[in-house]
Each structure stands twice: as structure tokens, then as C-alpha cells.
Amino acid sequence: MEMAKQEWKFTTKDIAEKPDLFLSGHRACAGCVPTTVLRLIMKALRGPTIVTQATGCMEVVSSIYPYTSWAVPWLHTAFETAAANASGIEAALKALKRKGRLKHEHVDVIAIAGDGGTYDIGFQALSGAVERGHDFLFVLYDNEAYMNTGIQRSGGTPKGAATTTSPAGTAIPGKLEYKKPIADIMVAHEIPYVATASPYYWRDLLEKVRKGLEVEGPAFLHVLAPCPRGWRSDQAKSIEYSRLAVETCVFPLWEAVNGQYQLSVASKLIALAPQKKRPVTDYLQGQGRFRHLFSPQNKHLLEDFQRITDERWRRLLAKCGVSAKP
């Protein structure tokens, strides 16, 4: 059952005044933006909420025994099970409600997983959960590799990125395969709400969390979350990279409501004024995982990064019904 729509008041002051539900004292690296993402997400709740997490950095750093950084009911079982947990929680809540044993009118369920726990190992659980139509919000914080176990490549790692299992050297120049378009794959599941978000555009992120909770049925939110440890980047610039990814259209912001794509403001402004679209090198330079792309023999890889970015941007514009300008 859906709760009464609550007024959105997402001004900086409202958010700053709201107490954190993802608490200080977690053990993430300094400058870890996935933790900023969790702090922000937890400020968009509309009522009683249960969070469940897949194994990964954000689960580990927030639940080192006997400490917890969660001020809401929270469950972890395994790496591949975020969406399976959410399915079970939602089904249990329904049963309790039916038996008159739930004291709340409604309880929201949020599943959180990294890219490894979403694109790869957690995917069948996720695909099944949304196919069954469970009412929950799945948040993917995408730091583009298996960071917690030492920076291994995942289906979410971009082509060309150096990881410990796709090292840049004489044999290969970083990861050979393109980043899997996971959010489009979730749209193809014909669920009511899919969106992408970036923490620099914090209000957009909060609004999308709230929409994902409000919608009846499954919702999927793909958040780019720079990891200075794995990206080998300046920890002070983690939020800056989340902005540059949007400004270069490497990670455009959009939402698909009942399959209907639309650009979110930051990306719409670029679509309307294409001269604002920055070259991908503005995003890639400074990230150690892409350093080798800037050597002369890898010029073609840098060009390919721009090409796939442009191609995916053009395809997105078409889906949003915006005609591509040169």
C-alpha cells in the first residue's frame, strides 16, 4: 500500500538539519564518496525503513563488529543476496500486515549493493526480485570495481580502466570490455522507476530516492560513487569527479518512469547547449586508473572512450526524444 505523499523539502538547510541515519565513525577510506551517497540517501526517507546490504565496502565499513553505522533496522546476509533479502523482507512485512501485527501503516525497503553485487554476482537475485514485482528500492553505488577485495574489474568497470585483474601493462591496456549498461537493462525489465544519479547533484539524487520509494513496485537507482582508493585519484576530488562524469556525458543523468526516458536537469542543459559538453579527457585525467590512456601508443583507446561516450549519449538523447545536435 502506498503512503500519503509527503511534501518534499530538500533545501540544503533541511538536509543539514536532518540527523544522519548513516552515522559517523564508519571505517571507509578518507574521501570515500560511496559513504557520502549513503548519508544523502538516508536523508530522503519518508518514514519507517529497513535497509539491507550486499557484501562490499559499504557493508563492511558500516558493520565492523560490534559497531554499526546504521540508525535504522539493517540486514546483511551475503554478497549476492541484496535483492533476495529485500524480497523476503517485503514479503514478511506483507504477511505481518495481513495478520494485523505490523504497527506501521507502511515500511519502506531499500537494498544497497556495489557494482560487483549488482552487475555481476547479485544480478540474478535482482532480476528475479523485480520480475516478481516486489515493492522496494534498489540502490547501486557504482565505484566501478570490486573495491573491498582489492580493486578487481567488474561488469561496471569502464573499458580501459586498470584494475588488479585488468592491469595496464605490456599484455593488455587495462580492461578490454565496455561498461555494461545496467540501468538500461533494468528499464528492459519494465519496472516502474529507473534513474541514474550523481552525488554532486545532491538534490536530484534525493528526489530520485524519494520517487523510488514512493512508486509502487520495484525501483532501481544507479549512483556513480567515486572511490579514490580504487580510482587512484586525489581523495579531495571525489565529489568533483562525480560532477565531471556528468559534464562529459560519461555518466548522464536521466530517469525512466514506466519506461519513458527523460533527461534530468544537469544533462538536459547539455543536450540543449551541446557546446557545454566537455571532452572525456577532463574526467579521465588525474585518475590513476586511466593514466596509461594518455601515453602516445594508447591514443586510439582515448579516442574510443570518447566515441563510446558520444554513441551512448546519442542513443540516450533518442530515447528521451531529444534530437541530437552536432
Binding site: 544522519d20 559517523s24 565513525g25 574521501g31 540508525a71
Partner: protein, 92 residues
């Protein structure tokens, strides 16, 4: 005692983390600490939103922000994102 000797009804249902992480101070991780120029700060609160460690608080009664150095890890995100460049990172 091996788990085989207990039925599922007898074993602990789960590990329960019972202490909040706010009792675990991470402030001593830092090398640099953020220092704010009160003249330059416009109280825009962006640093409060972006801090990964929830180490900057908005104090309504003072109409001002406050750093919590018990948790600040010295990442410098606040300094990098401050629109007026009011924050500088100083060696602790």
C-alpha cells in the same frame, strides 16, 4: 561445540552489532585538517552535505557550522567543494 549438534532453532539467529559507530572515533586518521575562514564562509552548507564522514554539523542555535574533528579524516572534499574557497587544509 559443532553446529551439527544444534538445531537451527538453537543457534544464534545472526551476529548483532550493538554499539553505534559514533563511539569509534576516526579523527586520528587525518594528516591535514580543514580550517575555515569565517569571513569567507557564506554558510551555504554544501560542505555539510558532501562530507563523507558527517563531520560537519549545522548548529541552528549559532546559525553556523561546526567541524567535528573526532570524525574528520582530513580528506579535503569540503575544501575542494567550498564555493568561496573558505576552507584550507592545514597539517594537523
Amino acid at each position: 561445540m559443532s553446529a551439527r549438534e544444534k538445531s537451527w532453532k538453537e543457534i544464534a539467529p545472526a551476529g548483532v552489532c550493538s554499539r553505534t559507530s559514533t563511539t569509534f572515533l576516526t579523527g586520528d586518521w587525518k594528516t591535514y585538517m580543514p580550517v575555515r575562514d569565517l569571513e569567507k564562509c557564506t554558510r551555504c552548507l554544501l560542505c555539510v552535505l558532501f562530507c563523507p564522514d558527517g563531520a560537519i554539523h549545522w548548529k541552528q542555535e549559532k546559525s553556523d557550522i561546526e567541524f567535528d574533528y573526532n570524525f574528520c579524516k582530513g580528506c579535503g572534499i569540503c575544501a575542494n567543494e567550498c564555493p568561496t574557497k573558505a576552507i584550507t587544509m592545514k597539517v594537523e
